[in-house]
């Protein structure tokens, strides 16, 4: 039985429809990530699950039980807030013990429980420190500890890393991932950072304008984006998107955009069957664009280097194919510099074609 089922969730704030029709489920020990830009309704969805917002319509089931009318304090759901909401006037011990005290757990049992949790999350050496004196990484741990000490059925995390600078974020992301493995609770994780989503989630639900655009494993989402938005949102640097038109000449199907032309005869059947209009968007990830110093392939296109961004062993090349700007990610070539003329090919097996009107993927 799935731990959490969300069905047809809808939430209006006045006339603004924050969540339009959201549904998903989370299995035992699974981490589902709600990923999307700010304002896509992901935090609202999380708050509805926690019981902090009342949905306009739709249902939330925890452990198979409908919890729509259960107040948040009775849902047994742990929530880690964006800024952790550590009680500033209480010590770390009391912060973790808070929920147990509310439940009037006997003191001896409470101490054992708090100490066990504290050592699991690695804060057993700062139990006497008051909440207002904690650093960010300590706060994160305490917030998680406070949520899991009650053995919740579900753990919700609301952008727990977004207020942290890039360097510390990397470390805390790794720590969070490790903790998550150790704790092993069904988790819903909200973030706008695709890297966080990809490293921490078992499955990702990409949200936009109050709807889930696609839900699937990291590789499903990355390799087969179902919509233009998902393709563009996931991946860094983001996918090259080229507005083009499908034309036929001499038995061949060609995607044309100004001077740029790409032979797509191998997909002609699918394209003809699925595309409604002729206006298409070609998507190709920078790592699927290869650059060569010599013309190695018959279909290779000539291009000019506009900028090279070295990122260690690899480089990001900003190319111009005719008037078209394209990003390529490949091995660093020390001889290549701004103004160099190169040859580029697209990996035909990794091409994405979207319908421009419906934004849905065709290939």
């Amino acid at each position: 039985m799935p731990k959490l089922v969300v069905k047809n969730l809808r939430k209006l704030f006045g006339t603004f429809e924050a969540v339009k029709d959201v549904g998903f489920q989370v299995e035992e020990k699974e981490t589902l990530c709600l990923l999307g830009p700010s304002g896509c309704g992901k935090t609202t969805t999380l708050r509805i699950i926690a019981g902090l917002e009342v949905p306009t319509s739709g249902q939330v089931f925890v452990d198979g039980v409908l919890v729509n009318d259960v107040p948040p304090q009775k849902r047994q759901i742990g929530l880690v807030f964006q800024d952790y909401a550590i009680f500033p006037h209480l010590s770390v011990f009391e912060n973790i013990a808070y929920g147990l005290r509310v439940r009037k757990m006997p003191e001896a049992q409470l101490r054992t429980k708090v100490h066990d949790t504290a050592s699991l999350i690695g804060v057993d050496n700062i139990l006497d420190v008051p909440g207002r004196k904690l650093g960010l990484s300590e706060m994160q741990r305490v917030a998680i500890g406070r949520s899991i000490v009650l053995d919740p059925k579900l753990l919700l995390l609301d952008e727990p890393l977004s207020n942290i600078d890039a360097k510390a974020r990397e470390r805390m992301r790794a720590e969070l991932g490790k903790l998550q493995k150790e704790i092993g609770i069904a988790t819903v994780y909200v973030t706008h950072d695709q890297l966080e989503a990809m490293t921490l989630a078992d499955r990702i639900a990409v949200m936009r304008n109050g709807l889930i655009e696609q839900i699937g494993t990291t590789s499903e989402i990355y390799d087969n984006p179902r919509t233009l938005f998902v393709g563009n949102f996931i991946g860094s640097p983001s996918m090259n998107l080229i507005d083009c038109e499908l034309v036929y000449s001499e038995e061949r199907a060609i995607l044309k955009s100004g001077d740029f032309a790409l032979d797509v005869t191998e997909f002609a059947e699918t394209l003809r069957a699925k595309s409604k209009g002729r206006e298409l968007v070609l998507g190709v990830r920078p790592e699927d664009v290869s650059v060569h110093v010599r013309k190695t392939d018959e279909e290779a296109m000539e291009c000019e280097v506009q900028l090279v961004e070295p990122i260690g062993a690899r480089s990001i090349y900003h190319l111009k194919i005719g008037r078209l700007a394209v990003l390529a990610k490949g091995y660093a070539m020390p001889e290549v510099d701004v103004g160099s003329k190169l040859w580029t090919t697209f990996n035909k097996h990794k091409l994405h074609v979207f319908d421009k009107k419906t934004e849905e993927a065709i290939v």
């Binding site: 926690a50 948040p72 304090q73 800024d83 500033p88 006037h89 808070y98 929920g99 509310v102 207002r132």
Partner: protein, 280 residues
Amino acid sequence: MTKTVRYLLIVVVSIWTLAPVAWMVSLSFKGPTEWYAPNLIPIQPIFDNYISLFIPTNPIGGSYFFTSITEPITKPVINSLIAAGLGTIFAVLIGFLAAYGVSRYRAGGTFIIFFTLLTRMLPGATFVAPLMVFYASIHFIDTYAGLILLYTAVTLTYAIWLMKGFIDEIPPEWEEAALLEGASPWTVLRKITIPLTKGGLAASALFIFILNWSEFLFALVISVTEVTTLPVQISKYVSAVGRMYGTMASLGLVATIPSLALGYLIQKHLVTGFTFGRVR
């Protein structure tokens, strides 16, 4: 240079605020012959003004004054403590809950909160007459209930506005976190919100207490003999030969003691109350 200017400013402001107090102290130790004299240091200092607060028939500086006062000031002191104290407690309690509702649940929308302020834009003198008629009809004149109800009602607006500000400073996440830990909304209020806003509550309470404690107009109208408060009592030191300035000054000084003491007691909270937002 700037330091000198700063000290100079402090000195000027101090003189500005403390000069009347100094004059009051001086007056309270002067005999009737010096009440109108411009000297700050009494030529013949006496304690008669203070003694006459407790023994109304006591001569001051050798001369007798005949007033309507027959009892010592203990009763007005107790009256003031009851009226101002309970009025403050009720205003703070009700005001806190109202402010919490407005801050967290947007109770009443924007209109109600503004409307409460609107009631305070009217000078008290404009509704003192109808209030007296109304109070007479429900037999509230010269009763504690009448004074306490009025003090609560009048200061409630300030209580709501002041405390709304302090509650707004508390991120709702803290309360939501406690809620998700299993605490009921009342427990959240008691264990999270109130401890975190106590500086603000103390500052609000002191402010409201001072307002109630020094209130004169309503007390004058509502009290006859039973619930005379200190400010009204001060105004009663008038004899056939004129106002008894020395006695009035001595009672005025006595009357400042409770406010001062209260302020001193909650001093620690006041600092956090006034610098709220930085304590987080």
